[in-house]
C-alpha cells in the first residue's frame, strides 16, 4: 500500500505552509515599500530604493562579515568538539554517559538568556575582554549539540563491522578513520555544520551578552529596528540572507537524501 496523503492532510499541510510563508512574503513586500515609518497596509507604493540604501551601508557589510566569520569559526569549533563527543559516546558504556548526553543538550535546551548571562559572569570573572573570541565561544557552546546529534546518529547507523573489516584488512586506526569513518561522516558533518552555522548566524540573545563593541548581523539589525529611519533596510538584508542561504539548504537536502546508500552494506538491499 503506497500511502498517499489524504485530501484533509494535504489541506492542513498547505495551510501550515501558508502560515509559515505569508509573513515571509510580507517581509519581501515591505522591502519595496515607499513609506518607511508607519508600515500601513497595504503599502502606499513600491520602490527599489532600499536595496541601494542597504548595499551602501558599510556598517551592514561589516556586521555581515563579522557574522560570517563568527559562524564559520563557531561551527568549526563545534564540529571538532561535537565529533569528539559523538565518538566518545558511541564507544562502550562508561559511567556518567547519560549525564554527559544531558550536558551536551543543555546549552540548546536552556534559554539563551541563561546561557548568555552565565557565560558573561564567567567572562567577567576570568577577566576576558568581550569580543569576537567570546562571541565565538558562546556560539560554539550551543552549536556543539547540533553537530553531535548528526554525528551520533550517523555513527549509530555505521555497522561496527565496517570498522572491523577495515582493521581486518590491515588498516591502522588512522587509516580506518581516513578511508572509512570520514567518508561516512562527511555528510553528517556537513549537515550538522550547516545547521550550526544557521543557528550562529541568526543568534541574538547569547550574542547580546557575550559580544563586546562588535556588531554581528542580528545585533546590527536589532539596532536598526530601534533606529528612527530606514526600517525597510532590515527587510532587504533579511531577504538577502534568505537568498544566499537557499543554496546550502538545497545542498544539504541533496546530500542527506543521497545518504540512503550509506547503510547499504548489509545483505538485504
Amino acid at each position: 500500500m503506497t500511502s498517499r496523503p489524504s485530501p484533509g492532510l494535504t489541506l492542513a499541510a498547505w495551510l501550515g505552509a501558508a502560515f509559515l510563508h505569508i509573513p515571509l512574503l510580507l517581509i519581501i513586500l515591505y522591502a519595496f515599500t515607499s513609506e518607511d515609518r508607519t508600515y500601513t497596509f497595504p503599502p502606499p507604493g513600491l520602490t527599489l530604493r532600499w536595496f541601494g540604501v542597504a548595499f551602501a551601508r558599510t556598517d551592514m557589510w561589516d556586521a555581515l562579515w563579522l557574522s560570517v566569520r563568527v559562524a564559520c569559526l563557531a561551527t568549526l569549533l563545534a564540529l571538532l568538539l561535537g565529533s569528539l563527543a559523538a565518538a566518545a559516546m558511541s564507544r562502550s558504556h562508561f559511567r556518567g554517559k547519560d549525564a554527559f548526553s544531558l550536558l551536551i543538550t543543555l546549552p540548546i535546551a536552556l534559554p539563551g538568556i541563561v546561557t548568555g548571562i552565565a557565560l558573561l559572569t564567567t567572562i567577567k570573572r576570568v577577566g576576558l575582554e568581550p569580543g569576537t573570541l567570546t562571541i565565538i565561544l558562546g556560539h560554539a557552546t550551543f552549536c556543539i549539540v547540533t553537530v553531535y546529534n548528526n554525528v551520533v546518529a550517523r555513527l549509530r547507523r555505521i555497522s561496527p563491522s565496517q570498522i572491523e573489516a577495515s582493521s581486518d584488512l590491515g588498516a591502522r586506526p588512522l587509516q580506518t578513520f581516513r578511508y572509512v569513518l570520514l567518508p561516512h561522516l562527511a555528510t553528517a558533518l556537513l549537515a550538522g555544520g550547516l545547521l550550526s552555522f544557521a543557528l550562529s548566524f541568526d543568534e541574538v540573545i547569547v550574542t547580546t551578552f557575550t559580544a563586546g563593541s562588535q556588531q554581528t548581523l542580528p545585533i546590527w539589525m536589532f539596532g536598526e529596528l530601534f533606529k528612527p529611519r530606514d526600517r525597510p533596510v532590515t527587510n532587504v538584508v533579511a531577504i538577502l540572507v534568505m537568498l544566499v542561504t537557499l543554496l546550502p539548504i538545497l545542498l544539504t537536502q541533496r546530500l542527506s537524501s543521497g545518504g540512503d546508500y550509506m547503510h547499504g552494506g548489509g545483505k538485504s538491499s
Binding site: 508607519t38 508600515y39 551601508r57 563586546g212 563593541s213 556588531q215 533606529k227 528612527p228
Partner: protein
Amino acid sequence: QKAQMLTSLGQNEGQLSVIAWAGYLERGQSDKAYDWVTPFEKATGCKVSVKVAGSSDEMVSLMNQGGYDLVTASGDASLRLVAGGKVQPINTRLIPSYGTVNPKLQSAPWHTVGGVHYGVPYQWGPNVLMYSTKAFKTPPTSWAAVFKPQTLADGKPNKGRIQAYYGPIYVADAALYLMKTQPALGIKNPYELNEAQYAAVLAVLRTQRTLIQRYWNDANVQVQDFTNEGVVASASWPFQVNTLKANKQPVASVIPAEGATGWADTTMMHVAAKHPNCAYRWMEYSLTPKVQGDVAAWFGSLPAVQKGCTASTLLGKDGCATNGYADFDRIYFWRTPISRCATQGTCVPYNRWVSDYIAIQGGR
C-alpha cells in the same frame, strides 16, 4: 577605587569605542547629510566604533562588562555608573568648550557628585504628552489625560487607547502628576519619594494600568501604534511627534501644566578607558555647535549648547523651538532614585521602582 583624573592630553590612540543611543553617532550610513563621525575621524585620526544600546539598563550592563571608552548615559543611568565606580571624573580644563554648555546643565546633579564632573552634557529632551488631535479637540492641559479614566472628545473612553513608557523611571511621571495635583502628599521632587508618597504614586499607576494599550519601549513601535493601533495619548519623545507629523498623522504634543520629566544625556568615560585621549577629543568635539545641532535634528532632541540651535542647517531655525527648547525649566530630568535623598531623609530606591513597576505592568 577612585580613578585619577587626566591632567593633560597626550598622543591619540587612534581608536575610540562608544556605547550610544541609536542615532547619536551617525556616519552618514542612513543619510549622507547626517554625518558627524567621519569629520571627527578625519580631524583626529581616532577611528570610532559604536555599540548601540536600547535602554539605560543595557548601557549600565555594557559598561559593567567593560571594553568601552565612552557612554552617552541618561540621568537614570549616570548616577548608577558613578556610584558603581564605572566612570572616571572629567577634567573640564581639558575641554575648552565646556564653558559653552547651557549653564543649567553644566553642574547638573546627574553627572556632578560632590562638585566633581563625571561627564559632558550631550543632548536633552522632554517627555512630552503626545495626543491625537482627533480624540482631543482641545489640547489636554494635564497628565490626567493618561492617568485618569475619562471619556474623550470623540465620545469614546480612553480605556485601551493609552500608552505609557515601559521603563521603571516612568514612576516619576506619576509622581510629578501627584506632586502638582495633590500637594498634600508633600512630594518635592518626583525622584525622591518616601513610603507614603510612593504608595500613592503606585496607586495612580495601577489605575493607569487599566487604561493601557501597551507599555512602549521602542520609539518606532510607538509611531506604528499611533498610526494603526488606535492609540490616542501617551508620554512620548519629540522624535515620535515629528515623525508622525511628517507622516501627516493627526497628532500634536504638549507639556501639560504639571510640567514633564525629561532626559538629559551625558557623555561619560569608563574608568578603564583604553583610549582616554581620543575620548577627551570626542567630548570636546561633541560640543561643537554644528554637531549639537545635527544630532538634535536627527534625533529630535535639544542641544546642550545653546549655539547648537542656530549652527545646523539640518535642524533649521525653528528646530529648537519645535523640540521644546523653551520648556527647560519645567522639566524634571531623569535621575536614579536612591535611598539617601536630599529632600526627605530616606527614599524608595530604584530597585524597588523596578520591581513594583514590573508588578504593575503584570496587573498586580
